[in-house]
């Protein structure tokens, strides 16, 4: 969730300037994302073109973690934001708690055409990233670890390891290491996953908490292999570090667009939602940043060159090697219980 660098303040200021400048426009919405290079890339690829095409003004705001703000804004009865780009789990949880509008897909044809797993009654996938197995090519010049079973195999692949200090995606990896097929993960067998994690626990040097930390561990050679987000690993590799990753058994995760309950510009927000997942706009996103489009149709637009497509987490061939995260499971009572169990697992 802290995946994107957040220059929140700067973007919030920009958003504020946008707000005052746009007061006269006929139709407008306030769109919120996570700031930084990520929001900049969206502005170029999706937000500006959408605003132009629909003839609306899109005011931007940014926040690293939108969830508490969604709760307070809707709770106050007068939300300021319309559309939020946030980890899909929050859209679902918000929908269940009455904080997020239920979507009428008849009005959102672009989303209606997307595979069912890519949307929920409250949200539409906006972009994809992946929790992948990353490793140092210095430690493993050949015969590199290529699956979670390899990651768990400390004899065949000696070296220092790191995992994320969070159950989401980590439990999935443990189950795959234990032989569960990527498409047969849900509902997660939580007991089995924790048992498998106990096995690797003595060999985990660091349980990282932020994306920046995972990048630093890999960059400094502090660990030889770890679970990390694909964008972080490729950024480190671009800086010249001898590191790479495999999409094999990656856990495909997404952020989604959803609309706040009682949003001030509901109709315009729905129009924007449809435009934002338009295949061409979506195809422009990965030309600006290392994330995959939320709409798989983007790969049929010829905007993304095949070499580039092959690097992206949601490219169909890459996606086929991975497990698609079920946010519905994670926001179910079983998922929430698993999240609570994590804390005691870490301290034992």
């Amino acid at each position: 969730m802290t995946m994107k660098q957040n220059f929140g303040l700067g973007c919030a200021l920009l958003g504020a300037i946008g707000l005052t400048g746009a007061a006269n426009a006929a139709e407008q919405i306030t769109f919120v994302s996570q700031g930084g290079a990520y929001q900049q890339a969206q502005t170029v690829a999706i937000l500006d073109p959408s605003a132009k095409k629909l003839g609306i003004t899109i005011n931007q705001d940014s926040i690293p973690d939108a969830w508490p703000a969604i709760k307070t804004q809707v709770g106050s009865g007068k939300p300021i934001w319309d559309v939020v780009d946030t980890p899909t789990g929050y859209c679902l949880r918000g929908g269940e708690q009455g904080l997020i509008e239920k979507l009428d897909f008849a009005k959102i044809p672009n989303a209606a055409a997307m595979p069912e797993a890519y949307r929920s009654p409250y949200s539409v996938s906006y972009e994809f990233y992946s929790s992948v197995l990353a490793y140092s090519q210095k430690t493993f010049p050949k015969d590199a670890p290529n699956s979670w079973a390899d990651f768990w195999d400390v004899k065949k692949f000696p070296g220092r390891r790191a995992l994320r200090n969070h159950p989401i995606a980590t439990l999935e990896a443990a189950l795959m290491a234990d032989g569960v097929a990527p498409d047969k993960l849900y509902p997660l067998d939580v007991d089995r996953a924790f048992k498998k994690l106990e096995e690797i626990k003595p060999n985990i040097t660091v349980w990282w908490t932020s994306g920046a930390q995972s990048a630093q561990l890999l960059n400094d050679g502090e660990v030889d292999m770890e679970m990390a987000w694909n964008g972080r690993v490729s950024a480190v590799a671009k800086e010249g570090a001898k590191v790479t990753f495999t999409y094999n058994q990656g856990i495909l995760q997404s952020t989604s667009l959803c609309i706040l309950k009682g949003a001030p510009n509901l109709d315009t927000a729905v129009k924007f939602l449809n435009e934002a997942v338009d295949p061409v706009h979506q195809a422009n996103l990965p030309l600006n940043i290392d994330y995959g489009p939320g709409n798989p149709k983007a790969f049929e637009t010829n905007v993304i060159k095949p070499e580039r497509a092959a690097q992206l987490p949601s490219e169909p061939a890459n996606a086929a090697k991975q497990a698609l995260m079920s946010y519905a499971w994670w926001s179910s009572p079983a998922g929430e219980a698993a999240e609570k169990r994590w804390a005691s697992f870490m301290q034992k």
């Binding site: 400094d220 050679g221 502090e222 999240e339 804390a343 005691s344 870490m346």
Partner: protein, 289 residues
């Protein structure tokens, strides 16, 4: 102050009291708005969520993870306090013993790290302590070790960095106390035939004890609430109470669960201050005298 006024008429006195109150009221309002109200709100949230509930406290007192976290936090604080004392006492002693110019230099060096952010210092320790860090590379170059030592991403690294941050809080109260010990006493001891080490043990050390207690209390209490250092250098395993607070907000999506942990920590701190106040005046701990 009012009693020393030449005209102690009641009216005058009352007016002066009113004036004093008016003068301090901005400060009182700031304290009320920034400390009393938020802490009260925090305590309220821990017991009220759609009706009165002790659920949050039941969890804190019955679930293992809270006990483990509190135990670990107190262990780390104790270790940090003892190490700070062992390192800080000689520094304060030296600063007290040398001529004024030198002591200013020593104290300046002690205070210098204050001007660097805690975050930057945590990363600096990472650069020093990690597997490919300066210390491990030097030791390997000198053939002292063949495999890098695990100096960070554990409790050890957390303790080292925390000591670095809290050391000034030990040295300054110690120095302030030592300054007030009259040098004549040592001379008197020496003139009665005691060796320097005996005068130190029998005269100087007992007289410096209030400073020791003050420094230890400051360091211990501040360490209880440390967050960034264990988060960055603890490797995820060193879960101190403050981290539990933040994790509870994420996990339970309501502040009550986190507030209960914070309230228990706050009460432990107050209990410590209470016990300490039985031995020395709290003004000394807080640096007033």
């Amino acid at each position: 102050m009012a009693t020393s006024m030449p005209d102690p008429s009641q009216k005058h006195q009352r007016r002066e009291h009113g004036l004093m109150l008016a003068l301090v009221s901005p400060a009182l309002l700031v304290i009320l708005a920034l400390i009393v109200l938020p802490v009260g709100w925090l305590a309220w949230q821990s017991i009220y969520h759609d009706g009165f509930t002790l659920e949050n406290y039941r969890r804190v007192f019955t679930e293992d993870i809270y006990w483990r976290s509190f135990a670990l936090t107190f262990e780390i604080s104790l270790a940090v306090t003892v190490i700070s004392l062992l390192l800080g006492y000689p520094v304060a002693y030296l600063a007290n013993a040398v001529p004024k110019g030198w002591s200013i230099l020593i104290l300046a060096l002690v205070v210098l790290p204050f001007w660097t952010s805690v975050l930057v210092r945590a990363y600096a320790w990472l650069a020093l302590l990690q597997r490919t860090g300066v210390i491990n590379q030097l030791l390997r170059y000198l053939d002292v070790i063949s495999e890098p030592l695990a100096l960070v991403h554990n409790t050890f690294g957390t303790v080292i960095a925390t000591v670095h941050i809290l050391l000034p809080f030990m040295v300054l109260p110690l120095y302030a106390t030592m300054q007030k010990i009259p040098g004549d006493l040592m001379q008197a001891g020496a003139s009665l035939g005691a060796s320097p080490s005996l005068t130190f043990v029998r005269v100087f050390l007992p007289l410096s004890l209030p400073g020791v207690l003050a420094g230890c209390t400051m360091v211990f209490v501040l360490c209880l609430g440390f967050y960034i250092t264990p988060e960055l250098l603890g490797g995820g395993r060193t879960v101190m109470v403050s981290m539990l607070v933040s994790r509870n907000v994420e996990l339970y999506n309501q502040f009550g669960a986190a507030s209960a942990v914070a309230v228990v920590l706050l009460l432990s701190v107050l209990a410590i201050f209470f016990v300490v106040s039985r031995f020395i005046s709290l003004d000394r701990v807080l640096g007033q005298k």
